[in-house]
């Protein structure tokens, strides 16, 4: 089965097939000899490759994992072929658009855009105060502000809708 592992905008393709209980792995099409052992049931794993062992901590879900290797941390998103197709379709439907949500509880200090306004990817949309700090929420992609769900002074919880973007066709 093929799995696409994304690190930001970089993607690696890993194919795993099981032969006689043995894992046969290819990385980006190339055969990759590895042995994999779980040190516990909490994501402490040891991977052996080319005569070296790599102890890693893996946490997360089948779709988003954080892997720590020798103090370095890798945040990866994973898709299998079916999911990939679905996600591509979804992305095609509203590229970069959709709903912008609060990632932490806080208070909306200021809304920097208006409904109908065109915005660039990364352009500040509004300012959320949390942890005694002002946090700027940027646009996930370029498009048009469809609706604004929260106004200045509103207290919002994590996951609350802030505003919706419609994507400019390009």
């Amino acid at each position: 089965m093929k799995t696409y592992v994304h690190f930001g905008d970089r993607t690696r393709e890993v194919e795993i097939t099981e032969r006689l209980g043995e894992l046969v792995v290819t990385l980006d099409g190339e055969p990759c000899e590895v042995s994999y052992a779980e040190a516990d049931s909490h994501g402490q794993v040891v991977l052996n490759h080319m005569g070296k062992s790599y102890a890693m901590s893996i946490e997360g879900t089948p779709h988003a994992m954080a892997i720590t290797l020798a103090g370095h941390r890798y945040d990866a998103t994973l898709e299998d072929e079916r999911e990939r197709a679905a996600n591509l379709a979804a992305r095609a439907k509203n590229k970069g658009g959709g709903v912008v949500k609060a990632v932490m509880p806080g208070v909306v200090v200021e809304v920097l855009v208006e409904e109908g306004q065109a915005v660039e990817a990364g352009q500040p949309l509004l300012i959320l105060e949390a942890m005694k700090m002002q946090n700027e929420i940027g646009a996930p992609g370029s498009g048009t502000v469809e609706r604004i769900h929260a106004g200045a002074g509103d207290a919002v919880g994590a996951g609350d809708k802030l505003l919706s973007l419609a994507v400019a066709d390009d």
Binding site: T3, L69, M131, N135
Partner: protein
């Protein structure tokens, strides 16, 4: 000696104080907010008093509640730790009015050092070098040009109403002074509706170097040498070390003497830190922190002195009992702060529930931490969860040891700044001691791409296993969901919240 003290703080610093108190056979009273009912400081104290509330203002910042707790439990002294009420002169006064000992400096010293302008005046009178410049705004270009010559170039033109770096103009050549002045006050009007600006010498490539001082109640004072804290980002230090590799013996002694001067000038008592900006061989007074610093352990490691013990002793009226000549530097120490933040996304705060904690150990590794499995890291409090400290015979050994320790460590459930610290420690410029307060911000934090392949394989196989296991035991699915929740996201800080280069108020 006190029989019982109250610690008006939480997290690793509360534990830090409890540990020394236990060693001195002093009972500890912990106070805690609703959020901290299970926190380690609550469990390790002899007595734990709930303050209620979730926000600091409802708990650790509520003077009445804290003083009431001290009264109820018969505490004889209060240690404020850092942050919260530690630099609150009113609280210091109220503690003493309540007949309790205040494990900190006199209220007046706190007041004086707490005000930028007042402290600058006091220090100048005391002959402590400050960044050359004017306290009062200049009205017109002519005065500005005249004053600039007196101050000396490069000149920084700052908006009086400003702060946070907005509307700062750097002028390196007198010929551009006039245009720069007009532009700056123009921008000041635009930004703050107040065009007044003042002039200051611009400090190039500054390093943040601070001196630890300790005074008893009998007029004796010593310094415990310096700490280098230039590896910082937006007023948040990440890596600290002692001693600083940029100072020679002569300047070390000079800086120490100046720090003692600063303390004496305000009638200091207890532990304090005098912060300096160092640039091209000269140093300027920045501010004095009238409390214990987060980074005090690196000083303890190179001097062998327990600073909290000294704080408690002098607060109890004991004389220091030793002089400057009894103190010396042995080896080198480095501290890395473990902050819940995402270094790959501009150090945005990260929240979650801690699990899979793996702490490093072995020779000369010290851990001051409030972390425990199940700790919920929220946004109510400072994101600093703990500190990793190492000692080595020399700087190279200390760096190698810290890298090794970070590689042993794992903190599951939140992002931490450790990968950034690792990148700093492995960076040629850090190793060569060639850095300033802008260094960390200049780095693009990323994990070595050469390992992405092997990591991808591990992740894919792990996913494969999870799918298997979920098929067998649904309970795991729940667990994964739980983990997922804990890796909830982050937000982007507003640039205007900080000033690249400015180091005021750093903790």
């Amino acid at each position: 000696m006190f029989r019982r003290i109250l610690i008006a703080n939480r997290g690793e610093i509360a534990l830090r104080v409890i540990r020394t108190a236990r060693e001195m056979d002093i009972e500890c009273v912990a106070v805690y907010s609703d959020v901290d009912a299970r926190a380690l400081h609550t469990r390790m104290a002899h007595v734990a008093v709930p303050l209620g509330g979730e926000l600091p203002s409802e708990s650790y910042l509520d003077m009445d509640k804290v003083l009431a707790a001290a009264r109820e439990t018969g505490a004889e002294a209060i240690h404020p730790g850092y942050g919260f009420l530690s630099e609150n002169a009113t609280f210091a006064r109220r503690v003493e009015e309540a007949g309790l000992a205040w494990i900190g400096p006199p209220a007046d010293a706190i007041t004086t050092m707490g005000d930028k302008i007042v402290s600058r005046r006091a220090m100048t009178e005391a002959g402590v070098p400050c960044v050359p410049g004017l306290v009062d705004p200049v009205d017109d270009v002519e005065t500005a040009i005249r004053e600039a010559d007196a101050i000396g170039y490069p000149i920084a033109i700052k908006a009086a109403a400003g702060g946070g770096g907005k509307g700062i103009r750097i002028v390196r050549d007198p010929s551009t002074m006039e245009s720069a002045f007009r532009a700056a006050s123009g921008e000041a009007v635009a930004s703050f509706g107040d065009g007044r600006v003042y002039l200051e010498r611009y400090v190039d490539g500054p390093r943040h170097i601070e001196v630890q001082v300790m005074f008893d109640a009998h007029g004796n004072g010593v310094h415990f040498f310096e700490r280098e804290c230039s590896i910082q980002r937006r007023h948040q230090k990440l890596v600290e070390e002692a001693p600083s590799c940029i100072l020679d013996e002569a300047q070390r002694a000079e800086m120490g003497a100046v720090a003692l001067q600063a303390g004496k000038a305000v009638g200091y008592r207890g532990a304090g830190t005098v912060e300096f900006l160092w640039s091209n061989g000269s140093f300027y007074f920045l501010e004095m922190n009238t409390r214990l610093q987060v980074e005090h352990p690196v000083t303890e490691m190179i001097t062998g002195v327990d600073l909290v013990r000294e704080q408690i002793r002098v607060a109890d009226g004991e004389p220091l009992g030793y002089g400057q000549d009894d103190l010396s530097i042995d080896g080198h120490s480095i501290e890395v702060r473990i902050n819940a933040e995402n270094p790959f996304e501009g150090f945005l705060p990260s929240t979650g529930t801690l699990h899979n904690l793996r702490m490093p150990g072995g020779p000369w590794v010290r851990i001051d931490s409030g972390m425990y499995r199940g700790l919920e890291v929220g946004l109510q409090y400072d994101p600093m969860l703990g500190k990793l400290i190492v000692w080595g015979r020399d700087r190279a050994e200390a760096i190698a040891r810290m890298i090794r320790a970070i590689q042993e460590m794992n903190v599951g459930g939140v992002h931490t700044g450790l990968p950034a610290a690792l990148q700093v420690l492995q960076h040629e410029r850090f190793v060569n001691g060639d850095f300033d307060t802008h260094f960390l911000e200049s780095l693009d934090i990323q994990s070595p791409p050469e390992h992405e392949g092997i990591v991808a394989v591990a992740a894919a196989i792990h996913r494969h296993r999870l799918a298997r296991r979920r098929a067998l035991a649904p309970s795991d699915a729940a667990r994964d969901g739980w983990l997922a929740r804990n890796r909830s996201g982050t937000a982007r800080h507003v640039e205007r919240a900080g000033v690249a280069g400015a180091t005021e108020g750093i903790r």
